[in-house]
Symmetry: C2
Subunit: 339 residues, 2 copies
């Protein structure tokens, strides 16, 4: 892939997400030379050991694909939920990579900042992420100087995948309980949980239908954030009133979060990331309608993930000037490696 480079001029840029982990091996010119993939790498959604193993697997995959010398890697940068302050976790990754010949330091940045840097080479602007969680940042001088929401499933993440998924399950239980309207979400959730055999079951447990009981057991048997997997059901019944109300509230909630980040700030691009805002289902467009003139003329700038941004942050840490040309090269070569 291109000209021979001077030694030690590669970075491993990791986007450690909750669903999967992606790593790009990038040179100082901004060209992606290899890409590696692995499973969930969010230590909050899995355990530290599994998350570290996914990161190492994807990093070694990228080195392999490029046919590069691991000794040429100068920095490993992890873009992960929350960013920083996890020395033991980073040490685990550093040690594993060292055993495979990658002796570079390991650094961490917040995934929201990496998402922002996936959308623009500018050092200022805004980003809204709505994946499993939801958070907005105002970026100035290449740093997040204001975070809004991102408070997790118990206290915030309004309009996130968890938030929508939780509302889906609650709406179905209200339908079955007689406390809410009938909804097309009910057969979808029952089927997603594999509980169709209980639909016509007349037997009750403590005065409650078996179906209601089992939906509860299924939901409580895993980490709360796993309810995010049911979020996509709202897009499957676009005409359903209950589903539409959930989406309207999600859009309204995300608008409030983004507005607080935008308040009194300088103009700049507004990048959006995460499955809820980048899918083909129209929630981004709904949010653009809600915000209208509050957005810059180009509207919301969607990015698929924080992989390009992780590379931008890695190169900048090593003194590379990531200008429009380098950014363009990064974006295209990462896309080419994704294939």
């Amino acid at each position: 892939m291109g000209e021979r480079l001077p030694e030690g001029t590669l970075v491993l840029a990791v986007d450690a997400g909750g669903t999967s982990c992606r790593t790009a091996l990038v040179d100082f010119g901004g060209t992606c030379r290899g890409l590696g993939l692995a499973g969930s790498a969010n230590p909050l959604a899995t355990d530290d050991g599994d998350a570290a193993a996914a990161i190492v697997t994807s990093a070694l995959g990228a080195v392999d694909m490029a046919g590069a010398d691991p000794a040429d890697v100068r920095l490993v940068l992890l873009a992960a939920a929350g960013g920083g302050h996890r020395p033991a976790f980073m040490q685990m990754i550093s040690t594993s990579l060292g055993l495979r010949g990658v002796h570079a330091p390991v650094a961490m940045e917040a995934d929201g900042l990496a998402a922002f840097c996936s959308g623009t080479h500018l050092g200022h602007g805004y980003v809204l992420v709505a994946g499993t969680g939801a958070v907005a940042h105002r970026v100035e001088g290449g740093r997040s100087i204001r975070s809004v929401d991102g408070l997790g499933w118990l206290l915030g993440d309004i309009g996130s995948g968890f938030w929508v998924g939780q509302r889906v399950v609650r709406a179905v239980l209200a339908d079955l309980d007689g406390t809410g309207p009938s909804t097309g979400l009910t057969p979808l959730l029952v089927s997603a949980m594999g509980l169709q055999h209980l639909v016509d079951e007349r037997d009750a447990l403590n005065g409650r239908p078996r179906l209601v009981h089992e939906i509860g057991i299924t939901s409580y048997s895993e980490l709360p954030v796993r309810l995010a997997r049911y979020a996509s059901l709202v897009f499957a019944v676009p005409e359903d009133e209950v589903a539409r109300e959930i989406l309207d509230e999600a859009a309204a909630g995300l608008a409030v979060t983004l507005r607080a980040a935008l308040a009194d700030g300088a103009p700049g691009p507004v990048v959006v990331a995460g499955g809820l805002l980048t899918g083909a289902h129209g929630l981004r467009q709904r949010l653009e309608r809600v915000l209208g003139d509050e957005l810059p003329p180009e509207g919301l700038v969607p990015v698929v993930d924080g992989l390009v941004g992780s590379a931008v942050l890695a190169l900048r840490r090593l003194g590379v000037d990531v200008d429009a040309a380098v950014f363009e090269r990064l974006t295209h070569s990462v896309a080419a490696c994704r294939g």
Copy 2:
């Protein structure tokens, strides 16, 4: 206390709550002869061992106060969240009590049914409990034949202590985040969490004030249901608009739950229990205004807990006819033992 009884005519009626555990030693005539108290006995809020220990402590306390012979106890009845289906837990209690001379079988009933039976000797009617959780039951033939909500903190418990407490914390975070209105709940919560020293702290962590960060850490460091402890803050600022809105929504949510239990049912008393509905702060009256004519003329019948009802259920299991006179005696003698 009164005439000498035939041997083996006592029951231990336990009300195993999340905040505390109460046990009454009751004779077949319906007279409470001793009362014991201990800490949290809800295995969902603490662990099984601690919950079992609290139950045993309170039961032995009741036997002690009465100066009774433990061998005279014929049945131990636990009124606990959810009721039934916990054989290992009940075995633990049975074994511990056996070592102290109580060789009676241990049975379990749902706390909601016990609350109902604390309010009436009739076998049919309705009960709404809003403590840490929230649930309504329709009772017929002395059994719950329909349960509404009671789905726990992740999926339901609308209008419960957890639900209100979670909204209090969210409202305070929205205030501090700039995504919601300023509220008098903020200084109250900051003080309840012991975080006053951070109010004027200008330092930010990942673009977030230290105060917001620490409220998050405090909230996530315990079981979710523990947020219920902040519910009472809404009663401390009755003029605050945010607090009033939370209470209005709680009352509306509890009305929906109770209405679903009442729907198409026969007339009967409507008993209410749990801190949110029995305190002096007026939420019960607010709920009565919301429901109006849907309630029987006597309105909502408040009970302090499920202790009397646990005794009613225990006596009925042993064939005692708990009529109006026995019920009256139970109510008064339990109150007298509470002192």
